[in-house]
């Protein structure tokens, strides 16, 4: 997934109305009229939101006669998960190093109970 595409997906999901549409489409496909129903906005505005979601590849509309149902493309969301998973594994790796540092900090704290100066100001 290119960076531009990922940015588009995040930008598409940055809007609460579009997030709501995605949430409803995750339950079932819907026509544009069905999607528009709960919102106090023009059909034109709903189409505008849909176009943003379509451009980002988050939803698609099947070719064919009207009314064409809007469908959630879960693949786009899966790819975000993949990016986050890689970011996560790097953070976990960093924190495993921190685990080791924390474990090694046990010793000096015990020594300082003899009255030696504390280097880091940690109360023991």
């Amino acid at each position: 997934m290119s960076v531009d595409t990922l940015s588009k997906v995040f930008a598409a999901l940055a809007d609460p109305t579009r997030r709501d549409m995605v949430a409803r489409l995750s339950a079932a496909d819907a026509t544009v009229n069905q999607l528009a129903e709960p919102y106090e906005m023009s059909l034109q505005a709903v189409y505008k939101h849909l176009r943003v979601l379509e451009d980002a590849g988050v939803v698609s509309r099947a070719a064919g006669p009207q009314p064409r149902p809007v469908r959630l493309e879960t693949g786009a969301l899966d790819r975000i998960d993949e990016w986050i998973e890689r970011y996560r594994s790097r953070a976990e790796e960093r924190y495993q190093r921190l685990d080791r540092v924390l474990a090694e900090m046990d010793e000096p704290v015990a020594h300082r109970r003899d009255g030696g100066p504390s280097s880091g100001g940690e109360p023991s």
Partner: protein, 155 residues
């Protein structure tokens, strides 16, 4: 287990991780430059602390030294207290970019602490670039380190 959340509504990344250490010890691992340099990474890079003044209103600069060059980071400690650190963070190769980071140390009792970090940047593009940085180095790095810890008996 490290949890990562990219907020869809604001350009924020949140990371949550539990540690077997008191909040005070975890805070010290973040504020003592010698300790900090040992874990901040990334893997296969040495961290050199150029400047370190860990108090509210202080600032820092550190450099990750790799075979292909150096990567410098700097920022200001806005506030340091027992249960949280608030700081700015800039990668000097991208001087216009600045993240506002909040690190919270939640005491879970029995000597364990939950670290919750939140990093806020000024655009979704900047947030995506941060996620991408994890993609570049994440996979090959992580397992080298784990392997070493398994062989030297740390795990």
């Amino acid at each position: 287990m490290t949890r990562v959340e990219a907020d869809p509504a604001v350009p924020v990344i949140r990371i949550t991780r539990d540690f077997r250490a008191t909040p005070a010890r975890l805070l010290r691992a973040h504020t003592d430059p010698g300790l900090f340099a040992r874990w901040i990474g990334p893997e296969r890079m040495r961290t050199r602390i150029d400047h370190w003044d860990a108090r509210s209103g202080g600032s820092f600069r550190f450099v990750s030294v790799a075979e292909d060059g150096e990567h410098a980071f700097r920022g200001c400690f806005h506030e340091i207290r027992a249960d949280r650190i608030v700081q700015t963070f800039t990668y000097e190769a991208n001087p216009d970019g600045v993240a506002l980071q909040t690190l919270r140390f939640d005491d879970l009792g029995d000597g364990r602490t939950r670290l919750r970090t939140q990093s806020l940047v000024d655009s979704f593009e900047a947030r995506d670039a941060a996620l991408r940085s994890g993609m570049r180095a994440g996979l090959d790095d992580g397992y080298t380190k784990l392997e070493r810890m398994l062989t030297d008996g740390t795990v």
